[in-house]
Assembly symmetry: C2
Homo-oligomer: 111 residues x 2
């Protein structure tokens, strides 16, 4: 099994997290699990990476945090994507298209 190195995904962690919030509000642990499943176990985001990404996304106004009344377990911080976050996500999708084209130019299937 081939895990993806972090340097490769580096520019897309924020995008991946925003994607996870497009349809549903969620919280750290759940997002982490979903990323793992959604990538067929190929990408497992580190806890610290995830939570530092939350801080960055908050600071940029791309997500907002809130609490729900919870009866059990440690209190979760939920996140919701903002309109600015959606716009940013869209931009990154466009950029990804171009990036793919560019990097593909430097890739050979057979040497």
């Amino acid at each position: 099994m081939h895990l993806i190195s972090s340097d490769v995904i580096r520019g897309y962690n924020d995008t991946i997290i925003l994607y996870m919030l497009l349809d549903n509000d969620s919280y750290g642990y759940e997002i982490s699990k979903n990323i793992r499943e959604f990538s067929d176990e190929k990408y497992i985001i580190k806890e610290t990476t995830l939570y530092s990404a939350f801080n960055r996304l908050m600071k940029n106004g791309y997500i907002e945090s809130f609490y729900k009344d919870e009866t059990h377990g440690k209190r979760r911080t939920y996140y919701r994507i903002t309109q600015a976050g959606k716009n940013y996500y869209k931009e990154k999708c466009t950029e990804w298209d171009i990036t793919k084209q560019v990097i593909n130019r430097f890739i050979k299937e057979e040497i």
Copy 2:
């Protein structure tokens, strides 16, 4: 015109440089120009990024440097790819395939 952000390409700078050395030995300035042209001006590698990548690639044994007898201009440092460099390049090509698939999962064309 959409330039590519550096964080995205970050994991592939070394790969791009190695690609440029697959068929011909070359030197910094030329590689820089070639990357620019080859990407249709979409990716312009920074000087310092390029030269620090050379150092890293040298340290890892992926490239070797040498001089040619030159009659004019400042002396160029030429680079040649090693077998280890070719192997590494191949690995990165495989990895790129997987990375593309994974990131694509988190990209929506229409929201």
